[in-house]
Subunit: 493 residues, 2 copies
Amino acid sequence: MSKGLPKRSEDYSLWYNELVKKADLAENSAVRGCMVIKPYGYSIWEKMQAELDRMFKETGHTNAYFPLFIPKSYLSKEASHVEGFAKECAVVTHYRLKNAEDGSGVIVDPEAKLEEELIVRPTSETVIWSTYKNWIQSYRDLPLLVNQWANVVRWEMRTRLFLRTAEFLWQEGHTAHATAEEAKAETMQMMNVYAQFAEEFMALPVVRGRKSANERFAGADDTLCIEAMMQDGKALQAGTSHFLGQNFAKAFDVKFATKEGGLEYVWGTSWGVSTRLMGALIMAHSDDNGLVLPPKLAPIQVVIIPIYRKDEEFEAISEKANEIMAELRKAGISVKYDHRDTHKPGFKFAEYELKGVPLRIAIGPRDLENGTIEIARRDNLTKSQFELASQPIAEKIGGMLEEIQESIYSKAYKFREEKTTEVNSWEEFKEVLENKGGFVSAHWDGTPETEDKIKELTKATIRCIPLNRKEEAGTCVLTGKPSEGRVYFAKAY
Amino acid sequence: MSKGLPKRSEDYSLWYNELVKKADLAENSAVRGCMVIKPYGYSIWEKMQAELDRMFKETGHTNAYFPLFIPKSYLSKEASHVEGFAKECAVVTHYRLKNAEDGSGVIVDPEAKLEEELIVRPTSETVIWSTYKNWIQSYRDLPLLVNQWANVVRWEMRTRLFLRTAEFLWQEGHTAHATAEEAKAETMQMMNVYAQFAEEFMALPVVRGRKSANERFAGADDTLCIEAMMQDGKALQAGTSHFLGQNFAKAFDVKFATKEGGLEYVWGTSWGVSTRLMGALIMAHSDDNGLVLPPKLAPIQVVIIPIYRKDEEFEAISEKANEIMAELRKAGISVKYDHRDTHKPGFKFAEYELKGVPLRIAIGPRDLENGTIEIARRDNLTKSQFELASQPIAEKIGGMLEEIQESIYSKAYKFREEKTTEVNSWEEFKEVLENKGGFVSAHWDGTPETEDKIKELTKATIRCIPLNRKEEAGTCVLTGKPSEGRVYFAKAY
């Protein structure tokens, strides 16, 4: 199965593309830039969704659904917003097909032209704030804490499976508040929810930070983000949470009667993560043999493979396998018994390695005699014999899964730390970025012009101003002008 | 709250529209025909999704995701399919906006015209079968059992919230099989899954049947369906399951190597239910006071309302309420304690009636003294005193919720039976349809021409040929020609 998977060290980009396809996660469709998320890939996304959805609900949010289409005039109401999205909008102009009169086939009916063009949502601030205008009259209607799971479309020219696709799946939270402070606290809370999800479930350490003005969401006053480090030393923005100020409230005239009897514009936030997280998950942990999945997001946590020559051996092994499965399932562990007789054990081993199943149990006739099983860990490729009498199997496997979850996180954390370098001169900046990659922690004079210049010279952007950075006076690596603290630069996905 | 809800008997249609809005289920958006599903409405849809998704997985299906856009040429590959959907297709023709040179605002960039127009999926058979071509080579790849939760767009001219909207949410199952028999069995299985869901969770009795050729899905060889009866005597198609034969396999050249070494076209099915089910749920059970929700789909099953004048009464009541909530939650019952001091009990009673909460508990100072609570049932509007010492509260409430679920079903079943009439002449047919409505069970000569004629004369269509109909020779009510059995006619949503 893993035959033909390129090595990360030789061609990281090709390795990623091939892995996504060979592990049955996703593939390109006939429509440029739109992907098909295959069942195995989708089952990982479903696990992500379930955890995120739970976390949103625990923080008081409810789900709703808003239209796919946005009237062009709505998108245009917030100036910087339309500026940010205009270049990548899919536009619906007609609503009917008909048979061509010359018999050449089906054509767009020119008579069925829409009066106003509709934009396929690239994000839903405009359509949602136009709705909120009717939902919000008084302070009693606030806060309004709504999330939506949806597909969005951004007509990207260069696409890559999961990382950048014309259509992608995501959730977008849109909240409305009576005060700036509350909205800012919500923005921070949801960034922290994302960080917790990334670290606890994806085993992905992230830097919590703030975007520079250049990298801010189109229409936001402030954008918080979580940034992760991939194995090739490039950064990946894994989630963003925006403080929208009163920008959309003003664009859509959403005011509320205050407790004190006044009338004020509402404060807003929006926040989202997308199927891009799938790309982050794959690129952060996987290896040359295939996927490495953290147990908390693995659709199958344990696979059992029988090793036998004779039918009666198979029967005895199956009996043992069924016992083990029953114990594991009782403990909430997902397990599959792969007893296909059309494939050899070696083939199956490679297949589950490719698919990133955290633990593989092999049982042969000798194991039955000895009361043992062989357990192989996917993350570090180690094998061990386990004596069934020594400990309840569910306890053993449960413990190993926890260990793997932690171990994957630690490895990624260590890697990220190694790939984070403080530099103090422009020469050093370029040298580290060129030869080592990763996060380059450097002083910056705080101007968009310097940021642009650095991007032009090195392709690196400011990934974020870390929230936990020390106050530290310094001088900008490029201009030598004064700086209040270090920011993280990196080349990024 | 329920002020202004029209009576069903006076204007059923207006009653429905108002109820959907006032109970916070959905509303129209700025885009013609596209709705906003509000948080309360969406939370009911989420409960439906969860149960259906579980049932799909239990029958071996997995979820995946396919592109929103379909190249126009794909849609055209299956002749009757494009015929069926061409008139209601939203068409994407451009992929960019720009600022107008005359400063008049944002316009569609004429230079960003797509080479081939893209259709916003009205259903996904074409894009999915074009993908299946790559997934299916051999009998070993079959059956392929995939479902998708998605939004689809059909540019309907007359829309109504939930019942007929330009965009709606649904699931669409698409399966591929080695034999016609297997595909037919799948078609039947999924129709039965829908029927079970409708009856067990929605408390909605349905007729399992087969569509006549006229009403068949565009591209199917056979369409099975479940049909429900609304309170105004109109039928509602609640779910369909299609046997696609080899039509899409032929259109997209999907062949498989058989076990015997041959090469054959694959057999297909597709099946779906949508947010239309929300409309069915509302129209089947609700009354002039508002929603009536079956407990199994109610986002809140029990609401507790304190009745008090003094603060110390409120404290004592709250203590009791918290005790009861803890017990109910332990038993998996969802419960809300509405202790808002901004609204009076009477207002709250009306609000939860409007929202269809199955059980309402009221606790006052007298109740505390007597060790009682008042329990009100939403479905039949009865109230009773319950002595807390007489039975564990979770057992009592759990039992009542079950009773309500059954009672709502029985009522709808009885109504459906009353509204089902056998007729044996054209006069009788017209008379029943006109004055009584409901299902009219009549002999039909089996021709599309007669069906068309009847529709033209009465607006009634064949809802289905019931699967459990008796073999019964007769003569067509309209033409007098021979008939093999009765079919169900009705006016329908």
